[in-house]
């Protein structure tokens, strides 16, 4: 597990004020500043810094992919040789239909898979076609794979830090 430098107290106030969303008003960072008790200039400077450091991945809208018609969500899991996983990760992550792509630990013997790619399609047939494209890209490094479809969302609250 990777662990970065912890954020400081003022960053933390900004995170608390924005983690459920930016205020919908013409000057949202000014509203965040009022809530965090610092100036708007400082909010903006710190948010720009967090964007540069990667603490903020991006700022924008997150569509609900179900509402856009992407109803088949397949977590594809692959057993690939450890020495090739980085090379394959770069290639598979670059595919425009893959939304997340990770190397994760195996749990042998129950779980042989060390490479995960999330694939979204309008139906399972489309997901299966997309998985064939990933398989073609992985080629003979594919020592086995499966598609795990989500059948129910049990909880979805997003990431939160405590106040």
């Amino acid at each position: 597990m990777t662990t970065g430098a912890p954020i400081d107290e003022i960053d933390r106030r900004i995170v608390l004020a924005t983690q459920s969303g930016l205020p919908l008003e013409p000057q949202p960072y000014h509203a965040v500043a009022r809530q965090a008790g610092i100036s708007a200039e400082e909010v903006m400077a710190r948010m720009r810094r967090m964007l540069e450091s990667g603490a903020i991945r991006r700022i924008g809208v997150v569509p609900n992919h179900y509402a856009l018609g992407y109803k088949a969500n397949g977590m594809t899991v692959w057993d690939v040789p450890d020495e090739r996983v980085d090379e394959l990760g770069e290639k598979v992550g670059a595919l425009d239909f893959v939304s997340h792509c990770y190397c994760r630990p195996r749990h042998l013997p129950d779980w042989p898979y060390n490479f995960f790619a999330m694939v979204h399609g309008h139906d399972r047939g489309e997901v299966e076609e997309l998985v064939c494209r990933i398989a073609a890209l992985i080629g003979d490094a594919d020592c086995g794979h499966e598609i795990l479809y989500s059948t129910r969302i049990l909880k979805k609250t997003g990431l939160r830090i405590g106040g």
């Binding site: 662990t3 912890p6 997150v62 792509c101 795990l148 997003g158 990431l159």
Partner: protein, 153 residues
């Protein structure tokens, strides 16, 4: 919310253009209106409406938990159907569990654990195992690969 056809051209343009790169400046909505061919007020109210309708699940900064010192992990459990609801109740009740999905596999429950420290992560795993009676397969990411995906509306 199941009818993407209800979105008009401007809604689609907002979704396609604003999945990243929302500016950090005094009047950020005003700054992006030119390329979206709309007004500041219209853009604010469109985003508000799409959030209320469930077309958007969020608007704002997406934080990277690990880069802020936090701990994030995907974990799975093998739960028989007969015990699934009880275990889902225990797992969902934990504030550290951000997402939880049922999947069609022997490893049938998959959840994301988000904590502010690695110690809290270990404690949460231990508590889930103790309260549910099932082992947790913890799968923290070893590496994350660059992703280009933006959902097309």
């Amino acid at each position: 919310m199941d009818k993407p056809g209800q979105m008009d051209e401007l809604d689609r343009a907002i979704i396609n253009e604003l999945q990243g790169g929302f500016p950090v400046c005094d009047r950020p909505f005003a700054e992006v209106t030119a390329r979206l061919h709309t007004t500041e007020q219209e853009l604010v109210s469109r985003i508000d409406r799409m959030l209320k309708d469930g077309v958007l699940s969020r608007f704002g900064p997406m934080y990277h938990a690990e880069r802020m010192g936090g701990s994030l992990s995907l974990a799975a459990m093998k739960i028989p159907d007969s015990d699934f609801e009880r275990v889902a109740g225990i797992v969902n009740a934990m504030p550290e569990v951000a997402h939880n999905y049922a999947r069609d596999h022997a490893l049938s429950m998959w959840f994301v654990l988000a904590t502010e420290t690695p110690q809290e992560h270990a404690a949460a795993l231990e508590r889930i195992e103790r309260e549910t009676g099932y082992p947790v397969y913890d799968m923290p990411k070893v590496k994350e690969y660059f992703i280009g995906l933006r959902f097309a509306a």
